[in-house]
C-alpha cells in the first residue's frame, strides 16, 4: 500500500514534469510555425520556478487562497485515477478508486474549486471566464459523453482497465479504429477541453485578461500552473486509454500521449477563434452527429 | 455652392467663402447659428456634425467657434462659424440637434473655457483631472512656466536658465 502511494507520488511528479515539458514543446513548436526561434523547451520550468519564488503574493479571501490547492489536487487526482500502464503494479496509479463515471465527475472538482476561488477575487473577468468555460464544457461534454457511452456499452464495462483490455490484440482493435466516429467526436471535444483555438474564448487574454486566474499571482499561480499541466497530461492519458489501446510500458505511454498532444497543438496554431455560442453549437452539431452515428450502431447491433 | 445663396436669403450671413469645390465657409451671428444648423440639417442634407472647433483670437478679443458639417449624399462640407466675446464666452449647446456635440462642447469648455448653456455634462472632467489654472488652450496661458513650476527641474542648471528666458520671452510677446 505505502509502496503504491510512493509510486503514485513519483508518477505524479513525473506527470507534472512531463506536462511542463509538453507546454514548453508546444511553445517551441508554435514559435517555429510562426517562423521564430521561441523560448527553450524548459521555459515552463523556469517560469514555474520564478512564480514559485516570487517575494509577495496577494489574497482576496479564503476561497481565493484555497483554490490553487483545489486546482492542483483536482488535476493530480484526475491524473492518479487514470492508469498510465494498465496492469502494471507501479504505474496503474489509484485506478481502483473509481471507474470512468467517477473520473468524469472528479475532473470537474478542480475546475469548480478554482472557479470559486477566482470568483472570490472580485474581478469581473474571472467569473466571465468561468461562465464561458462552464458553457463551453456544456458544449464539448455532449460529444464526449456520447463516445464514452459508446465505449462503455460496447465493452460492457465502465472501468478504464476493462476498456483497455478490450482493445488488446493489435492496432486494429483500438477503439480509434473500431469506433472511428465516436473517436472523432471525442477528439474534437478534446479541443474544447484543452481550450485551444478555435475554442479559446475561455481564457481570451486579449479581452478578459486570461479569465479565471486573472487575479492570481506568484506562488498561487505556480500551483495552478502545475495543476493545469498535470491535468492536461491526465486528459492525454485518458484518451490514450480510451482510444489508443492504453500503453504496455512507459515508453509507449510517452509516444501515445505525445501523439495525442500534437493534435490540439496543430489545430491551435492554424485556426482563428470562435465565439462562445458558435463553439457550443458546433459541438452540439457535427461531433454530436458523429458520436450519434456510432451510438446508433451500437444500439442497433446490440 | 448654391446652398450659400439660399442661406443668404434666409438668414443673416455676415460673410462667406467657397474654399474648395466641396467646402464652404459661412460666418453668421450667434443669434442665427442654431436656425442655420437646423436648416442645414433638415433641408440641405448636412446630416453629420463632423466636429466643433474653437480658435482663440486673443488680439481681437474673440473666440471663434466652427461647426463643421458634412453632407454624406452630395459629399460636401460646410463650416459655419461664429465669433464670441472673449471676456464672456457664453453660447448655447447644440447637443439636442447632434448628441455627439456634447463631447466636443465639453472639450472646448475644458480647453478654452467657453460656456455652453444647457449642456448637461460640460462641467465634468474630460481630459484634465483637477485642473486649477486658466484653461490651457487659451493663448494667455504660459505652458512652459506651468511645466517648470509643476514638474520641477529636468536637467542641469544651464538648461533651466535657457528655459526661463524662453518663458519670459513668451510673456513679453504676449504682453505686446
Amino acid at each position: 500500500m505505502w509502496a503504491k502511494i510512493l509510486y503514485a507520488f513519483l508518477t505524479l511528479i513525473g506527470g507534472i514534469a512531463y506536462g511542463l515539458l509538453l507546454g514548453g514543446i508546444s511553445r517551441k513548436i508554435t514559435a517555429r510555425m510562426q517562423n521564430r526561434r521561441g523560448p527553450t523547451v524548459w521555459q515552463n520550468f523556469i517560469d514555474l520556478w520564478k512564480l514559485f519564488r516570487k517575494k509577495t503574493a496577494i489574497s482576496h479571501g479564503v476561497m481565493f487562497y484555497l483554490a490553487p490547492m483545489f486546482r492542483l489536487v483536482g488535476g493530480a487526482g484526475t491524473f492518479l485515477l487514470v492508469p498510465v500502464v494498465v496492469g502494471s503494479p507501479y504505474l496503474s496509479n489509484f485506478s481502483f478508486g473509481g471507474d470512468l463515471i467517477v473520473l468524469m465527475y472528479f475532473m470537474v472538482l478542480g475546475c469548480l474549486g478554482m472557479a470559486l476561488g477566482a470568483a472570490e477575487s472580485g474581478h469581473p473577468h474571472a467569473p466571465i471566464g468561468v461562465t464561458r468555460g462552464l458553457s463551453q464544457m456544456a458544449g464539448y461534454e455532449l460529444p464526449f459523453i456520447l463516445s464514452v457511452i459508446v465505449l462503455m456499452v460496447a465493452d460492457k464495462t465502465a472501468t478504464l482497465e476493462g476498456i483497455v483490455r478490450a482493445q488488446q490484440g493489435g492496432i486494429l482493435h483500438w477503439h480509434l479504429f473500431t469506433h472511428p466516429f465516436a473517436a472523432a467526436a471525442a477528439f474534437i471535444s478534446l479541443l474544447g477541453m484543452m481550450t485551444s483555438y478555435p475554442f479559446q474564448v475561455v481564457l481570451a487574454p486579449q479581452e478578459i485578461a486570461v479569465g479565471p486566474p486573472t487575479e492570481y499571482s506568484s506562488t498561487f499561480l505556480s500551483y495552478m500552473f502545475s495543476g493545469r499541466s498535470v491535468f492536461a497530461v491526465a486528459k492525454y492519458l485518458l484518451f490514450m486509454n480510451l482510444f489508443l489501446g492504453g500503453a504496455s510500458n512507459l515508453l509507449w505511454a510517452f509516444v501515445k500521449t505525445f501523439a495525442i498532444f500534437l493534435w490540439p497543438l496543430f489545430i491551435t496554431n492554424v485556426f482563428p477563434r470562435l465565439r462562445l455560442e458558435q463553439s457550443v453549437l458546433f459541438f452540439w452539431t457535427w461531433p454530436t452527429f458523429l458520436g450519434l452515428v456510432d451510438l446508433l450502431r451500437i444500439y442497433l447491433v446490440r | 455652392m448654391e446652398v450659400l445663396n439660399r442661406l443668404r436669403e434666409k438668414f443673416e450671413i455676415t460673410g462667406d467663402k467657397v474654399q474648395r469645390d466641396d467646402l464652404a465657409l459661412v460666418e453668421t451671428t450667434g443669434k442665427d447659428l442654431i436656425p442655420v444648423l437646423v436648416y442645414l440639417k433638415t433641408y440641405e442634407g448636412f446630416k453629420t456634425l463632423v466636429m466643433i472647433s474653437c480658435v482663440d483670437w486673443m488680439e481681437k478679443g474673440k473666440f471663434q467657434l466652427s461647426y463643421n458639417l458634412w453632407n454624406p449624399e452630395k459629399k460636401k462640407n460646410i463650416i459655419v462659424k461664429i465669433f464670441l466675446d472673449r471676456e464672456n464666452p457664453v453660447f448655447q449647446t447644440i447637443y439636442k440637434i447632434w448628441p455627439q456635440a456634447e463631447v466636443y462642447e465639453r472639450e472646448i469648455h475644458e480647453m478654452f473655457g467657453v460656456n455652453f448653456e444647457g449642456n448637461p455634462t460640460q462641467d465634468e472632467e474630460l481630459i484634465l483631472e483637477d485642473w486649477e489654472e486658466i484653461p490651457p488652450m487659451r493663448r494667455d496661458f504660459n505652458t512652459l512656466r506651468y511645466s517648470m513650476e509643476k514638474f520641477g527641474e529636468r536637467e542641469p542648471k544651464s538648461g533651466i536658465i535657457i528655459r526661463k528666458q524662453i518663458s519670459e520671452q513668451y510673456d513679453e510677446w504676449r504682453r505686446k
Binding site: 516570487k54 478508486g97 456499452v153 | -
Partner: protein, 1047 residues
C-alpha cells in the same frame, strides 16, 4: 314531533300580524319576525331530530280540513322534507339576522312579510303532498321573491325582478297546466295517490307529456342551462341577502319537489333528461364563469353549476340501472352537496354584502382586512369548490364513485366541471388575496362566520357518511394529529408558542407513528417525512419574521397528511391525504409573494388529483396492492397527479413561481419532502399498476424520457434564472426528474438510485433552501444581482452552501455523487443509452447553475447595501450544520443509506435486490464498474491538506487585500457594482441555446387557458339580458323537452 301545519300556520299568521302591526308600531315588527323564524327553525329541527333518532318512524301526514287524502289537501313530511325545512329556516335565520343588523330596506314590515312568505313558500314546496298545493306554494315563493328581489330598488334589482317575473310566470303557467292536465288524466292531485296509480300500472297516452310539462316548469325554476339567464341576473342584481336565501334555500326546495315529482311520475326518460340538463348546466356554467369579472355573477354561475350537479345526481338516483349501493352513495352525496352548497353559498353572498363594489378587483385586499373575513371566505371557497375536508369534497368523492358504475364519461364530466370550478374559484381567490393594502369591508360578518362554522362542523358528519358508504378507513393516529394541528391555530397570538407547539406535535407524531417505521417503502418515506419535518421546522424559528398565524397549522397539516399519505393502503385514503396535502400547501404558497403562482399550482394540482380520482373510480378494488390488468390510460391517469407534483415536463409550469415565491420557511419542506410524495406515488404506480401493464416497457420508457427531459430542461432554465429561490426551484424539479428516471428504469439499481437520491436531495436541497431562507431574511431580496460577496458576512452559510452545491452537482467526494453513479450504471445496464446521454448532459449543465448559486450570492463583490448584513439566524445555522453532516458522512460511507434501501427493496418483491457488491475497503462494485467513496474522500482530503501545508510553508508573503483592489487597467473602481458580474451570467450561452428554452409549455398552457376563456366569453353571450329572449329560451327549451322526451 311538531305538526308541520303549525309551521305554516304560525308563519302565515305572523306575516299577517306583521302587516297589521306595521301600520301602528313599525318598531315592533321585529318582535314578531325573529321569534317566528326561530320557532320555524326549532320546529323543523325537532322533527329532523325525531327522524334521525328514530322516534318518528314514518313520515308525518297532515290532513287539512279533515278530509283524508286523496280528496283533501295534505302535507307530507318525511326525513328529507324535515331536513330541508331545517336547512331553509337555518339559512333564513342567518339571512334575517344579517339583514337586520345591516338594516332592512323600508318599509321594514313589508319586507319582513315577504321574507317570511319566501321561507314559508320554500318550506311549503317541500312539505306539500299535493300537486295543486305545490302550485300555490310555488306562486307564494315566486311572488315573495319578486318583491324581495325588487326590494333594494336598485335599477339592476328591478330589472332582475322583472325578468324573473316574466320567466317565472311562464314557468308557473306550465306547472298549472301540467297539474290540471294531470288531474284530468288521473283524476287525482295527491302525489302519493298518483304515484301509487302509476306504479300500479296506470297509463295514459298524454301522461308523459303532462309530466314533462310540470318538470319543464320546475326546470325553469331550477335554473338549468340555457334558461337560467334570469337567475344569473338575480344573483348579480338583487340584494345579497335575498340571493343567499334564494340560492341557499329556496332552490333546494324546488330541487326536492323536482325529485319527488319525477319519481312519482316515474317515466324512463326522466333520468336521461336530468342527466343531460344537469350535466350540461353543470359543465357549461362552471366553464362560463372563467372570465367573469363580476363577483356576484361569478357566484351565481357557481350556484347554477352546483344545482346542475344536483340535478345530475338526481338523474343518477332516477336511473333504474343504478345498483343499490351506488344509490346510497348518490343519496349521501346529494345530502352533502345540498348542505355544502347552502351554507357556503350563503356565506359567500353574505360576505359579498360586506364588500363595496361588485367587480373582482374591488375585492382586492379584502383577505388582509379581517381574520374573520379570511376564515369565512377561505372556508366557503374551499367547500364550494369541493376541497377537503369539507362536505363538498366527500360528496364529490361519493358521486364520482357512484357515477363510475354508470359511465366513465359521466365521471369525466363531473371531474371536468370540478376542475373548471377550481380554475375560476381560485382565480377569484388569487385576485382577492392580491394587494397589500387592506380593503375596506363591512363588519357584518357574524352570519357568514356562523355559516362557515356550520361547514366546519359538518366535516365529521360528512367524513362519517362518506367513510360508511365507501368503506374508507383513514389511519386514526394521523387524523388525531391533523386535528391537533388545526388546534395550533388557536395559539395564533404568539408565533413562538405556535412554533414550540409544532415542534412538540411533530415529536408526538413521531412517537405515535413509531410502529409504522418499518423497513418498507412507506416506512422509508415516513422516516424521511418525520425526521425532515422536524429538522426543517427547527429552521422556521419565527424570530422577528412576519409569519401568518395560519402558517404553522397549515405546515403541520402538510406534514401529517404526508404521513397519512405514505401509510395509506387504499387509493381512497391516498387520494384524501393527497388532496389535503395539496390544498394545505396551496394555502402556504398563497401566503407568499406569488399569488398567481399559487393559483396555477392549485389548478394543476386539481387537474392531477381529479385525473387520479378518475383513475381510482375505474379501479375494481380500492386496495393499492391489488390493481389487476390495468390499461395504459388508467396507469397514466393514476400517475398524472404525482407527475404534477413532481412538475414533470410539460406539467412543470407551476413550479418556478410556486417554489420561488412561497414563504421562505415553507420552501424547504416543499422541495425537500413534499415533492417526494410525487415520487412515492409514482413508486406505487410503478409497483402495483404499471407492473401489470402489458405495454409496461414502453410505458416505462416514456416516463423515463419524461424524467430525463424534465431534468434537462429544468436544469437549462435554472442556468438562466436570476432569482435565487427560483433557480433552486428549477434545480429541485430537475433533481426530481432524475428520481423519476430512476423509478422508470424499474430495475433494482435504478430504484436504489432513485431512493438514494430522494434522501440525498432532501439533505442538500433542504439545506440550500434553508440557507436561501436565511439569506433572503437577512438581505431582504432573493434577486441574485443584488447580492454577491456575502462570504465575508456569512462564512458558515457559505461553507454549508458550498458543500451542498458540490453534492448537488454530484461531484465526488461528497454524497451527491453516489446517486449519479448508481443512476448512470443502472441506465447503461438497462441499455437506455440515449436517455443516459441526455442525463449526463443535464448533469453537466448543472455545473453551470451550481457555480452561479455560489458566485452570485457569496462571491464577487460585496454590495454597498449588504455591508452590514449579519450571519443567518442561529436556528437556521443549526439546521445548516445538521444537514451538513450527512452530506459529508454519506460521501464517505454511502452504505449507511444504501443498506437500508437494499432492505426496503428486499420487501418489494417485484424488484429484487440491487446487484451491488462491497469490497473490503468499502468500495462499491457494480456489474459495470466500481467506485470507492471512502478512498476518494480520504485521498482528496489528504492530498488537499498536504498541498495546503506545503503551500503555507513555501509560499511568498501573502497579503490580504481589499475587495476592490483588483487589476482594473490602473483605474480605481468607484463602487462594488462596477466590478460585480452577477447579472446575465450565461447570456452568451443563452444565445446558443435560445431555441431550446423557448417557453413552449407555458405558452401552450396559457394558450389553452386563453382559448377556453375566449370560448367561455363567447358562450356567455347567449345570456343577452333581453327579457323577450329569455322568455323565448324558456318556451323553446320546454318545447324541445316535450318533443324529444315525450313518451
Amino acid at each position: 314531533m311538531v305538526n308541520p301545519i303549525l309551521i305554516i300556520g304560525i308563519t302565515l299568521g305572523s306575516a299577517f300580524l306583521i302587516g297589521i302591526v306595521q301600520a301602528f308600531r313599525p318598531r315592533w315588527t321585529g318582535w314578531i319576525f325573529y321569534p317566528t323564524l326561530v320557532f320555524d327553525f326549532l320546529a323543523s329541527a325537532v322533527n329532523l331530530y325525531g327522524f334521525l333518532s328514530g322516534s318518528i318512524g314514518k313520515p308525518i301526514m297532515v290532513k287539512i280540513g279533515g278530509f283524508p287524502p286523496p280528496v283533501g289537501i295534505n302535507l307530507l313530511v318525511g326525513k328529507a322534507e324535515a331536513a330541508l325545512g331545517t336547512l331553509i329556516f337555518a339559512v333564513a335565520l342567518l339571512g334575517a339576522y344579517h339583514w337586520g343588523r345591516r338594516g332592512f330596506p323600508q318599509p321594514q314590515g313589508k319586507i319582513m312579510v315577504l321574507f317570511l312568505l319566501l321561507a314559508l313558500g320554500a318550506a311549503g314546496i317541500s312539505f306539500t303532498g299535493d300537486f295543486f298545493n305545490l302550485f300555490v306554494f310555488v306562486e307564494i315563493t315566486s311572488i315573495a321573491s319578486y318583491g324581495l328581489v325588487a326590494s333594494s330598488r336598485r335599477e339592476e334589482a328591478l330589472e332582475a325582478a322583472f325578468k324573473y317575473m316574466v320567466v317565472g310566470s311562464i314557468s308557473s303557467t306550465f306547472i298549472l297546466l301540467g297539474v290540471v292536465f294531470l288531474y284530468k288524466a288521473t283524476g287525482s292531485l295527491n302525489m302519493l295517490d298518483i304515484g301509487g296509480k302509476i306504479a300500479g300500472g296506470f297509463s295514459s297516452q298524454v301522461l308523459g307529456l303532462i309530466s314533462l310539462l310540470i318538470l319543464a316548469g320546475l326546470l325553469v325554476e331550477l335554473e338549468v342551462f340555457p334558461i337560467n339567464g334570469w337567475a344569473l341576473d338575480i344573483y348579480q342584481g338583487a340584494d345579497p341577502v335575498v340571493v343567499a336565501l334564494l340560492a341557499g334555500a329556496a332552490v333546494k326546495a324546488f330541487y326536492l319537489v323536482y325529485l319527488k315529482t319525477a319519481s312519482y311520475l316515474a317515466l324512463p326518460s326522466f333520468f336521461k333528461l336530468s342527466l343531460i340538463f344537469g350535466g350540461g348546466t353543470y359543465l357549461v356554467s362552471q366553464f362560463f364563469a372563467w372570465r367573469q369579472e363580476n363577483a356576484r355573477r361569478l357566484l351565481g354561475y357557481s350556484s347554477v353549476g352546483q344545482l346542475g350537479l344536483l340535478i345530475l345526481a338526481g338523474g343518477l338516483l332516477l336511473s333504474p340501472s343504478l345498483p343499490a349501493s351506488s344509490r346510497a352513495m348518490v343519496l349521501a352525496a346529494v345530502v352533502l352537496l345540498i348542505l355544502n352548497h347552502s351554507f357556503s353559498k350563503s356565506s359567500l353572498f353574505l360576505l359579498a354584502d360586506n364588500v363595496k363594489g361588485e367587480k373582482l378587483e374591488d375585492w382586492k385586499g379584502v383577505l388582509s382586512s379581517s381574520p374573520v373575513f379570511r376564515f369565512s371566505f377561505t372556508t366557503s371557497v374551499f367547500s364550494v369548490a369541493g376541497l377537503p375536508p369539507f362536505p363538498g369534497f366527500w360528496a364529490k368523492l361519493l358521486l364520482v364513485m357512484a357515477a363510475a358504475r354508470f359511465s366513465p364519461w359521466l365521471v369525466a364530466l363531473i371531474l371536468a366541471g370540478a376542475l373548471a370550478e377550481v380554475v375560476y374559484y381560485f382565480r377569484f381567490f388569487y385576485l382577492v388575496s392580491l394587494g397589500d393594502k387592506k380593503a375596506e369591508v363591512g363588519n357584518n360578518l357574524l352570519a357568514p362566520l356562523v355559516a362557515s362554522l356550520f361547514l366546519v362542523g359538518a366535516v365529521p358528519l360528512a367524513y362519517k357518511m362518506a367513510a360508511d358508504k365507501l368503506s374508507l378507513t383513514l389511519p386514526g393516529g394521523v387524523l388525531v394529529l391533523l386535528g391537533l394541528s388545526l388546534l395550533v391555530y388557536l395559539l395564533g397570538f404568539s408565533r413562538l408558542l405556535q412554533w414550540l407547539a409544532s415542534l412538540g406535535l411533530v415529536a408526538y407524531g413521531a412517537y405515535l407513528l413509531l410502529p409504522f417505521l418499518k423497513a418498507d417503502l412507506s416506512g422509508f418515506f415516513l422516516g424521511l417525512i418525520l425526521a425532515g419535518a422536524a429538522v426543517l421546522l427547527l429552521a422556521t424559528y419565527p424570530g422577528a419574521k412576519n409569519l401568518s398565524s395560519s402558517f404553522y397549522p397549515a405546515y403541520l397539516v402538510v406534514v401529517f397528511s404526508m404521513a397519512g399519505l405514505v401509510l395509506s393502503t387504499t387509493w381512497f385514503s391516498l387520494f384524501v391525504f393527497w388532496e389535503i396535502m395539496s390544498w394545505a400547501s396551496f394555502l402556504l404558497i398563497n401566503m407568499g409573494r406569488g399569488k398567481k403562482a399559487a393559483w396555477i399550482y392549485a389548478v394543476l394540482s386539481a387537474a392531477g388529483a381529479y385525473a387520479m380520482l378518475g383513475g381510482i373510480s375505474l379501479l375494481p378494488s380500492p386496495y393499492i396492492s391489488s390493481v389487476k390488468s390495468p390499461g395504459p390510460w388508467l396507469a397514466l391517469l393514476l400517475s398524472l397527479g404525482f407527475l404534477v407534483k413532481m412538475a414533470t415536463v410539460p406539467l412543470h409550469i407551476w413550479a418556478r413561481d410556486a417554489y420561488g415565491e412561497s414563504p421562505d420557511d415553507f420552501t424547504p419542506l416543499l422541495s425537500g419532502i413534499m415533492s417526494k410524495m410525487g415520487v412515492f406515488g409514482s413508486a406505487l404506480v410503478f409497483l402495483y399498476v404499471v407492473i401489470n401493464l402489458s405495454s409496461r416497457s414502453s410505458f416505462n420508457y416514456l416516463l423515463g424520457w419524461a424524467g430525463v427531459l424534465t431534468a434537462f430542461f429544468m436544469t437549462l432554465l435554472a442556468v438562466f434564472q436570476e432569482d435565487l429561490k427560483k433557480l433552486l426551484a428549477y434545480s429541485s424539479v430537475a433533481q426530481v426528474g432524475y428520481i423519476l428516471l430512476g423509478l422508470a428504469l424499474f430495475t433494482p439499481l435504478g430504484w436504489t438510485a432513485a431512493l438514494y437520491h430522494t434522501v440525498n436531495h432532501f439533505f442538500f436541497k433542504g439545506l440550500l433552501f434553508v440557507a436561501a431562507a436565511g439569506i433572503v431574511y437577512r438581505v431582504g431580496t432573493s434577486y441574485l444581482p443584488h447580492m454577491g460577496g456575502l462570504i465575508r458576512r456569512m462564512p458558515l452559510t457559505f461553507f454549508a452552501s458550498l458543500l451542498a452545491v458540490i453534492a448537488l452537482a454530484g461531484v465526488p467526494p461528497l454524497s451527491g455523487f453516489a446517486g449519479k453513479w448508481l443512476l448512470y450504471t443502472a441506465l447503461i445496464e438497462k441499455g437506455w443509452i440515449f436517455i443516459a446521454v441526455v442525463a449526463f448532459l443535464a448533469s453537466t449543465l448543472a455545473f453551470l447553475y451550481s457555480f452561479k448559486i455560489l458566485h452570485a450570492v457569496f462571491l464577487g463583490q460585496l454590495q454597498e447595501e449588504n455591508c452590514e448584513v449579519r450571519e443567518v439566524p442561529i436556528p437556521v445555522a443549526v439546521v445548516e450544520i445538521i444537514l451538513l453532516i450527512p452530506l459529508v458522512v454519506l460521501g464517505a460511507f454511502p452504505r449507511l443509506i444504501l443498506d437500508p434501501i437494499t432492505r426496503v427493496l428486499g420487501k418489494v418483491t417485484a424488484l429484487g435486490i440491487p446487484d451491488l457488491k462491497y469490497t473490503k475497503t468499502l468500495g462499491v462494485v457494480s456489474r459495470l464498474g466500481h467506485w470507492n467513496a471512502l478512498f476518494l474522500m480520504v485521498f482528496f482530503a489528504g492530498a488537499f491538506i498536504l498541498a495546503l501545508i506545503f503551500f503555507a510553508l513555501t509560499s511568498a508573503r501573502v497579503k490580504l487585500v481589499g475587495q476592490m483592489d483588483v487589476g482594473y487597467s490602473g483605474e480605481v473602481p468607484r463602487s462594488p457594482e462596477d466590478l460585480h458580474f452577477g447579472y446575465g451570467m450565461y447570456d452568451h450561452f443563452r444565445r446558443a441555446v435560445k431555441w431550446l428554452i423557448y417557453p413552449l409549455a407555458t405558452r401552450v398552457w396559457r394558450g389553452i387557458y386563453e382559448a377556453l376563456g375566449a370560448v367561455a366569453e363567447m358562450g356567455r353571450r347567449i345570456y343577452t339580458g333581453d327579457t323577450n329572449t329569455y322568455a323565448a329560451y324558456v318556451i323553446g327549451i320546454s318545447l324541445l323537452i316535450l318533443l324529444i322526451f315525450k313518451g
